[in-house]
């Protein structure tokens, strides 16, 4: 097992580096440069040239990349010029905020999705199944940024139950209940689509398993229905569902970009959006590196869990 994990990790390294090269090239190719972004209307060729020199952006592209790579390998991710602070500080701070949001969301969508899927499958074609399917379809179809705004309007502006944005209260607060209060709406919004996907898939997987011979055998042996469903069928269905949860983890990370912007969650998604629009190359590189590594690790984790659950894969 550990050899397998090591092999997968090694294979991820070229993927991540390839990605940094692609991102670097894209950032270099899109029109507009950091100096123009900073100077705005004042971007005369003369001012731009001077500022580029001050920022170290007057060197050839390849050289810039290798300088970045060299520094990065020594643990120096450079300094963001739009934020005027070390990239690594910003990225880690932002990423931990995203992990809190995405992690909560992932737990939320896994739990809700699995419960809904199992109930749907066990009570196939009943009104409960139909109601769940209906809600799930709406969940999959609603654009999440719109849902986010709607939730803000209802629960923050009108009912005033939850804060409209941010991660902690601006004064006081800062403790766990405060965090949970701020976390609830964005995590819920982010979880909706993935919940739907997981629920649909769990339902299908459960139905398939329930039709198989070993379930009939178990029932014939007189095993109680709840043991059949939760011990035998659910466990077998999980094997199909787990890798999808791994993929959903990636989607949740990606979806965090909108949700973080709508809820002003100080995560890495909203950081990347801002960094790209201000052409903050070092910040984009640092952010992409972290997000890509996380994506690879999530998928790896899903595969490992699957291997543990499914003896056929060992």
């Amino acid at each position: 097992m550990s050899a397998y994990i090591a092999k997968r990790l090694l294979a991820a390294i070229p993927v991540i580096f390839g990605l940094t090269i692609i991102v670097f090239l894209i950032m270099a190719m899109i029109p507009g440069d950091p100096a123009t972004a900073i100077l705005g209307s004042y971007a005369t060729p003369e001012n731009v040239e001077k500022l580029n020199r001050d920022l170290g952006l007057d060197k050839p592209l390849v050289q810039q990349y290798f300088i970045w790579l060299g520094n990065m390998l020594q643990g120096d991710f450079g300094r963001s010029y739009t934020l005027n602070r070390p990239v690594i500080d910003e990225v880690l701070e932002r990423f931990s905020a995203t992990l809190i949001l995405a992690g909560t969301s992932l737990v939320l969508c896994s739990v809700l999705g699995l419960i809904a899927g199992v109930i749907s499958a066990v009570r196939q074609y009943s009104w409960v199944d139909k109601a769940i399917t209906f809600v799930v379809l709406i969940g999959i179809s609603v654009p999440s940024f719109w849902l986010g705004l709607l939730l803000i309007l209802v629960f923050a502006v009108n009912l005033k139950w939850f804060p409209a944005s941010g991660m902690y209260a601006i004064y006081g607060g800062g403790d766990l209940p405060d965090l949970l209060k701020h976390l609830f709406l964005p995590a819920l919004t982010l979880a909706v689509v993935a919940t739907g996907v997981i629920a649909r898939l769990t339902r299908t997987a459960m139905l398939e398993v329930l039709r198989q011979d070993f379930i009939r055998t178990a029932r014939a042996k007189g095993v109680t229905e709840s043991t059949v469903i939760y011990k035998h069928a659910f466990k077998a269905a999980l094997v199909t569902v787990i890798p999808v949860i791994g993929i959903q983890a990636g989607f949740v990370l990606g979806g965090a970009v909108y949700i973080e912007t709508v809820f002003q969650w100080p995560g890495i998604g909203s950081m990347l959006v801002k960094a790209i629009s201000t052409r903050d190359l070092l910040l984009v590189q640092g952010g992409v590196l972290v997000v890509a590594s996380a994506y690879v690790l999530f998928n790896l984790a899903a595969d490992v869990v699957q291997t543990i659950l499914d003896p056929r894969l060992r």
Binding site: K160, S165, Y171, L180
Partner: protein
């Protein structure tokens, strides 16, 4: 499974536990910012958003008089200007200290400007200082004694005093810079009414009252600046009580706040002008009659009333009325007269040649550029002009427009906000300001008379004399129509009704020294 459910219920009930949310405490003002500040070092920043914090933490030698763009003493008590306009001598206020305890004196003034301008200065590497060119006319800064400082200019430069009042001219603590180096922007120290307390990245910047402020301590105990980048979220925070002040309210929401007694809406015209650059070098707009026709053809009143929903006024000429002393009151805007436009086009022999129109998606001061571009296209097509729009993201757009429109486009949207009537025409209307000479005259307008007026105005040190020159310039430029003059933006802000003494300034600076919020 049951245990999981129980945990979920616990989490949910925890979150619901205290429904009384989002009431900001008395005497603390929470301001909704449009973005995280880049830095709190006034020499290093360029954005209005950052100025909203800095103008309350630092002082300049001079400042804009309340409600105007004219300067009055601040850290300097008085000054004299030599007859040749080359030497400015400032007498400094005594007994003022920076927030870090170090004294404010002539050396601090010298340090502030030399750090920005002098590449050999030991602290020049704590930059970059993108707006240092505001002071590029400075030759030397000398500390004559502790309370006297002398600036020698390379050439007479009338906007100098006004630039000193701008955010880039705010005085920084030399001790603060020396102690913190490049991190000064996160450990700032000035002489202003509020001192830096805390900056929690992506969450808030807190400043607290400077009890020893030379101009009297402020009524507010503290100001908290919250970055909320999404406009809809910012509105939601204002409605749910999470912020007290929200600048830059979108036109669509102004009405909602206006009709609610819990809020007060403020508006103030500023030194902003929104215009179309016309390519006077080639294509149809090389002909003055066609340029005038465009000015007649576009219904500016409809643009500001319908698209901008009254958040702007129709522009008369190149100089916004906010520069009241230099503004030519006798100018009338080009009226909306499509018939006259058609006649002018016919007179010019315009043959329906298509024109390319650069439109941007957004950008500093650009208001609602796509909707405006489309309406302008429709107005021009109504008089028989064939207009093709090309839309670009702001940075790309600047990269296309600033190097000049030649060979690419016939017209382009543009907007400027400046602090002196000199800046925009000097940088964008002179023959010496063509893009290849480092200026912003992207439409290649050239009139020797305008060049001379602008050069003279820059040399003059008497405000009355300068005013006359600018007024004359406005007349000629309006007649020549190198631009379509469209709108002057009114900045706006909404506050909770309990916020007192709030005022917007024509400088677009947010001054909170006198604001109170007793409840």
């Amino acid at each position: 499974m049951k245990r999981l459910l129980a945990a979920a219920v616990t989490v949910a009930s925890l979150a619901f536990a205290s429904p009384s949310l989002a009431q900001t405490p008395p005497n603390v003002l929470v301001v909704g910012q449009i973005a995280e500040p880049k830095s709190l070092d006034p020499s290093a920043v360029t954005a209005q958003n950052d100025f909203r914090i800095l103008l309350n933490m630092y002082d300049g030698l001079v400042r804009y008089k309340d409600g105007t763009l004219e300067v009055e003493p601040a850290l300097a008590e008085s000054w004299t200007i030599s007859d040749d306009g080359l030497t400015y001598t400032f007498k400094l206020r005594e007994g003022v200290s920076f927030h870090d305890g170090s004294p404010f004196n002539a050396e601090a003034v010298k340090f502030t400007f030399e750090r920005m301008l002098n590449e050999d200065h030991p602290y020049h590497d704590t930059g970059p200082f993108p707006l240092a060119f505001y002071f590029s006319s400075i030759d030397t800064v000398t500390a004559i004694d502790d309370t006297t400082v002398e600036f020698k200019l390379k050439e007479p430069y009338a906007p100098f005093l006004s630039n000193l009042a701008y955010a880039t001219g705010l005085i920084v603590s030399p001790k603060g810079v020396m102690d913190n180096g490049a991190d000064f922007g996160r450990n700032p120290s000035g002489t202003g009414a509020f001192k830096f307390a805390e900056w929690e990245a992506n969450s808030k910047v807190v400043v607290t009252r400077n009890e020893d402020y030379w101009d009297g301590a402020a009524p507010l105990q503290a100001v908290i600046y919250r970055p909320i980048t999404d406009t809809n979220t910012r509105i939601a925070e204002m409605l749910s009580g999470g912020i007290d002040v929200m600048p830059e309210v979108p036109p669509d929401s102004l009405q909602q706040f206006r009709s609610d007694a819990n809020y007060t809406v403020y508006e103030q015209v500023g030194p902003h002008v929104w215009f179309l650059i016309l390519n006077a070098k080639e294509g149809p707009f090389a002909n003055k009659a066609v340029r005038q026709a465009a000015n007649y053809a576009i219904n500016k009143t409809a643009l500001v009333d319908n698209i901008l929903q009254g958040t702007a006024a129709v522009a008369n000429g190149p100089t916004p009325p906010a520069f009241n002393w230099a503004y030519n009151e006798s100018l009338e805007p080009y009226p909306y007269d499509p018939e006259k436009a058609k006649a002018l086009l016919e007179e010019a022999g315009y043959d329906g040649e298509p024109v390319t129109f650069y439109v941007t998606e957004g950008g500093s001061g650009m208001l609602d550029p796509i909707a405006m571009g489309t309406a302008i296209q429709a107005d021009l097509e109504a008089v028989g002009m064939d207009v093709n729009i090309e839309t670009y993201e702001w940075n790309t757009f600047l990269g296309k427009v600033n190097p000049g429109l030649e060979g690419k486009a016939d017209m382009a949207e543009m907007a400027w906000m400046t602090n002196d009537p000199d800046t925009l025409p000097f940088l964008a209307l002179r023959s010496e300001a063509f893009p290849d000479k480092g200026g912003f005259n992207s439409g290649y307008y050239s009139n020797p008379e305008v060049d001379e007026l602008l050069n003279k105005a820059r040399q003059a040190t008497d405000q009355g004399e300068r005013a006359e020159l600018y007024k004359k310039m406005q007349e000629i430029v309006q007649e020549d129509a190198p631009w379509v003059f469209v709108a002057n933006w009114k900045q706006n802000a909404v506050t909770k009704a309990s916020v007192e003494n709030f005022k917007l300034q024509p400088s677009f600076f947010l001054m909170l020294q006198d604001v109170a919020k007793p409840q």
